[in-house]
C-alpha cells in the first residue's frame, strides 16, 4: 500500500463522520458511538498492530499522516491513542477492548489531565516502567471545567496485570501523536486563515493585501511547515521512537501551536472568538495538545540532557540521532 492508498480513504471517512456539527455534538456530551463505530469499522485502529497479531503492521512514518488527518478534522475521539495502545497490547499478547483507550502516565493517586478522557472507558496506564490496562471507573474521570473540552482529570489507579513499558515510556509515544495532531490542525488553520484574509474586506480591499498581515501569515505558514516536518522527523525511525526524535517533534510542534493559534485569531478578529465559528474547534485543541504529555520546555530539557551528554558537534548530533535513515 502506498501513502495515498491509506490516507485518502481515511481522510474521506473523517470528512463524512467528523463534521464540525458532529464534533460539537460530542463536545456537548452526546453519544460517541456512531463516530467511533465508523472509525473502528475502517480497520485503521490496528494500523500499528503487527501483521502477525492481525493488524496492518504499518510503520509509524506511514501512520503519521493519519494522525495529522485526525488533527485536521478535530476528531473528538482518542483514535491515535487507541492505535498506540492496541499495538502495545498486541505486542504483549493481550487483547484490547473494543472501545477507545487513553494513554496515561500517572502514579497511584496522582491526578493528571488527559485529552478526551471523558469519552473513553479504558486507559493504558504507565507506572514505574510498567503498563497496565485499566478500566476507568464510572465517575473517576472528572471534567476539567474547561468549556467544551473533553479532557478529563483522571486519578492513577494501581495497575494490576502489567507488562514492561517500551523504552522511553508512554509519554514519548503520546508526544509523537500530539505533535502530529498539532501539525494537522495547524495546516487546517493556515488554510482557514488564508481564505478568510482573502475574503474579508476592510479599507476597501481584502485584508490579505495588507503587508502587515502578509508578513504574519508567512510566519504562520513557516511554523506550520516546521511542525509538520518535526512531526515527520519524530516518526521517521523506529517505534517506539528514540527519545531525541520524540522530543524534537513535540518541542517544535508545541512551540508552533501557541503562535499559530494566536495568528489565526488575530487575523479572524472578533468572529474567531465566537463559539459559533469553527476556528475555536482547532485553536482550543492546539493549546490542549501543547500542554498534554509535556510542553516544549519539558521536551527541551529531555533533549538538552541527551545533547549535553554527547561530545560531538551539533550537526553530527542531529544528523545521527534525529534524522531519517536513507
Amino acid at each position: 500500500m502506498d501513502y495515498s492508498d491509506i490516507l485518502e480513504p481515511f481522510e474521506r471517512m473523517l470528512e463524512t463522520v467528523a463534521t464540525p456539527t458532529a464534533v460539537r455534538a460530542i463536545e456537548r456530551g452526546e453519544p460517541v458511538d456512531a463516530m467511533w463505530n465508523a472509525i473502528a469499522a475502517s480497520g485503521f485502529l490496528d494500523a500499528l498492530v503487527a501483521e502477525a497479531a492481525g493488524g496492518f503492521g504499518l510503520p509509524v512514518a506511514t501512520v503519521q499522516p493519519l494522525w495529522q488527518a485526525l488533527g485536521r478534522h478535530a476528531v473528538p475521539l482518542p483514535v491515535g491513542e487507541t492505535m498506540i495502545a492496541r499495538a502495545l497490547l498486541a505486542d504483549a499478547g493481550l487483547a484490547a477492548p473494543t472501545g477507545p483507550v487513553l494513554l496515561v502516565v500517572a502514579a497511584p493517586g496522582q491526578s493528571v489531565v488527559v485529552p478526551l478522557g471523558l469519552v473513553a472507558r479504558h486507559a493504558l496506564v504507565e507506572q514505574d516502567g510498567q503498563l497496565g490496562l485499566v478500566e476507568i471507573a464510572p465517575g473517576s474521570a472528572a471534567s476539567t471545567g474547561v468549556a467544551a473540552s473533553l479532557a478529563a482529570r483522571i486519578e492513577g489507579a494501581a495497575i494490576a496485570a502489567s507488562f514492561p513499558a517500551p523504552a522511553g515510556g508512554l509519554r514519548a509515544l503520546a508526544a509523537l501523536l500530539r505533535a502530529a495532531l498539532i501539525a494537522g490542525a495547524a495546516d487546517r488553520l493556515v488554510t482557514m486563515t488564508t481564505s478568510y484574509a482573502n475574503e474579508r474586506v476592510q479599507f476597501g480591499k481584502p485584508i490579505g493585501r495588507q503587508q502587515a498581515l502578509q508578513q504574519n501569515l508567512a510566519v504562520m505558514a513557516e511554523d506550520a511547515v516546521a511542525a509538520r516536518i518535526a512531526s515527520q522527523l519524530g516518526c521517521a525511525g523506529s517505534f517506539p521512537p528514540p527519545l531525541a526524535a520524540a522530543a524534537t517533534a513535540k518541542s517544535v510542534a508545541s512551540k508552533a501551536a501557541a503562535r499559530i493559534a494566536a495568528t489565526a485569531h488575530a487575523v479572524h478578529g472578533a468572529i474567531g472568538i465566537s463559539a459559533e465559528h469553527d476556528l475555536q474547534l482547532f485553536t482550543r485543541r492546539l493549546h490542549e495538545w501543547r500542554l498534554a504529555d509535556g510542553s516544549e520546555s519539558y521536551w527541551n530539557r529531555q533533549l538538552g540532557a541527551v545533547r549535553l551528554a554527547d561530545a560531538g558537534a551539533s550537526v553530527d548530533f542531529v544528523r545521527t540521532r534525529i534524522a531519517p535513515a536513507a
Partner: protein
C-alpha cells in the same frame, strides 16, 4: 499547505562523501580560532578552494563534460554542510560554485560554458554578483547601471555596491540596464559578465562593523566589454536573476551561520558541567530547531534534485533559518552573561561578539526577511 516539502533522507552515496570532505575541512580549521572559523562565508583562501576543486568537491551539481561531478544537490548539501560546520574558508569558490556556474550552464553559450565552468570546478575563478546599487537594494528592478551596445560589444557605466568578493574577484556577473530607463522596471535588464581587471573598473573595499572588508563598491567608467559578455538573452536579465536567486536561497548555508558559536558554547557548558533545567531547556530548544531546520533544508534540496525551482519553499526555510541563526547569539549572550561568575574564555567571547555584530547580515544577504515573507505570502495565494 506547501505539502511538497516532505521529509527526505540524504542518499547513501552522497552521505558517503562526508568522511573525505570532513578531513579536508577540519584540516583547514585545525589551527584557526573559533571567531575566525565563524567567518566561514567570508574566509577567503584561493589555495583551499583549488584544493577542493582538485579533490572533486566543486561543481557537484554540474555536468562532467564541463568538469563537474554530475552528482546533484544532495551531494552539494553534504559538502557544504561539512565546510560550514567546520568553519572552512569558502569565500573563494562559494558564489561561483553555488550560482554563477549554474547560471552560465543554464543561460550561457557553449563557448561561455566551456571557458568558465571547468575553471570554476577547479576552484580557479572567483565570481561576485553585481546586483545592489546605491539606489537599488530590495527594489532590484530599479538598477541604473547601463550597458550600451557598441560596434564590438558593450560599454558599461555606473556603480554597484555591497558586492561581496569584488576586491579579490576575477569576474562579476552584473544585472545591468541594456535598454529603457529605471522606469521600465523588469523590462530592459540583462546579465553581463565583467572582467574585474578591465580598464575603467575601480573597486573600493568597504570595511564592515566587525573590521572585515568582504564587500566593496565597484565603479564602471566606459568599461568596454566584448559582445560575448552577455549571458543569456538581452532583456531577460530579470527572469535569469530570479532563477539565480533560487540557487542562492535554498542551500544549507541558510541555517549554519551561527553553528560554530553554538558548538563553542556547548563545549563551554560541557566543560563546566552546568546542567540546571534552564540550561538544558535552552540546549534542547536549539537542538530541536536545528534538527528541524536541517530536515526542512534537505526537504528543499529534494525538490531541487527533482529539477524544480522551489522558490517559495526556499524562502520559507531561509526565513526560519536566519531567524534561528540570529536568535542564537542573543540567547547565548544572555546565557553567558546570565552567569557572571562563570569564566568565559577569550575565544568564545570573541566568537559571540563577532556573530552578534554580523548577525543582522544573515537576513539581508540573498533577500531581506520582509521580501522573503512577501514571496511566501504570494505562494499562499495572498495579494
Amino acid at each position: 499547505m506547501f505539502d511538497t516539502l516532505v521529509l527526505a533522507a540524504l542518499p547513501v552515496e552522497d552521505e558517503a562523501l562526508r568522511p573525505a570532505i570532513r578531513a579536508i575541512a577540519e584540516e583547514a580549521g585545525k589551527a584557526v580560532s573559533a571567531d575566525v572559523r565563524a567567518r566561514s562565508w567570508s574566509g577567503f583562501d584561493r589555495a583551499f578552494s583549488r584544493r577542493l576543486g582538485e579533490a572533486g568537491f566543486l561543481g557537484l551539481t554540474l555536468p562532467k563534460r564541463y568538469g563537474g561531478a554530475e552528482r546533484g544537490p544532495f551531494a552539494r548539501f553534504v559538502v557544504v554542510e561539512e565546510l560550514l560546520c567546520a568553519g572552512a574558508p569558502v569565500a573563494a569558490h562559494w558564489i561561483a560554485d553555488r550560482q554563477s556556474a549554474p547560471l552560465i550552464l543554464g543561460y550561457g553559450t557553449e563557448a561561455q560554458r566551456d571557458y568558465y565552468i571547468p575553471r570554476i570546478c577547479r576552484g580557479e575563478l572567483v565570481f561576485c554578483i553585481g546586483m545592489s546599487e546605491p539606489g537599488s537594494g530590495s527594489d532590484l528592478a530599479s538598477v541604473r547601471t547601463r550597458a550600451d551596445r557598441t560596434a564590438n560589444g558593450w560599454r558599461v557605466n555606473g556603480q554597484k555596491i555591497w558586492t561581496t568578493n569584488a576586491a579579490h574577484g576575477d569576474y562579476m556577473i552584473a544585472l545591468l540596464r541594456t535598454s529603457g530607463t529605471a522606469d521600465d522596471r523588469h523590462a530592459g535588464l540583462s546579465q553581463l559578465i565583467i572582467d574585474l581587471k578591465a580598464p575603467g573598473v575601480t573597486v573600493r573595499p568597504i570595511v564592515d562593523l566587525t573590521g572585515d572588508a568582504h564587500f566593496a563598491e565597484v565603479f564602471f567608467e566606459d568599461v568596454e566589454l566584448p559582445a560575448d559578455a552577455l549571458i543569456g538573452n538581452e532583456g531577460e536579465g530579470w527572469k535569469q536573476v530570479t532563477a539565480e536567486l533560487a540557487f542562492e536561497r535554498s542551500g544549507p548555508e541558510r541555517i549554519y551561520s551561527s553553528v560554530v558559536l553554538l558548538d563553542a558554547w556547548i563545549r563551554h557548558l560541557q566543560g563546566g558541567g552546568r546542567d540546571d533545567s534552564a540550561t538544558l531547556a535552552l540546549v534542547g530548544d536549539f537542538t530541536a530547531r536545528l534538527a528541524t531546520l536541517r530536515a526542512m533544508s534537505i526537504a528543499c534540496t529534494a525538490r531541487l534534485a527533482l529539477g524544480e525551482s522551489p522558490v517559495v519553499e526556499a524562502s520559507l526555510v531561509k526565513d526560519l533559518g536566519t531567524s534561528f541563526e540570529q536568535e542564537l547569539p542573543v540567547a547565548i549572550g544572555d546565557d553567558l552573561a546570565g552567569h557572571p561568575d562563570e569564566p568565559v574564555d577569550a575565544e568564545l567571547y570573541r566568537t559571540l561578539l563577532y556573530v552578534t555584530h554580523i548577525a543582522p547580515s544573515f537576513s539581508l544577504r540573498g533577500g531581506t526577511r520582509e521580501i522573503l515573507r512577501g514571496i511566501i505570502a504570494r505562494g499562499m495565494g495572498l495579494r
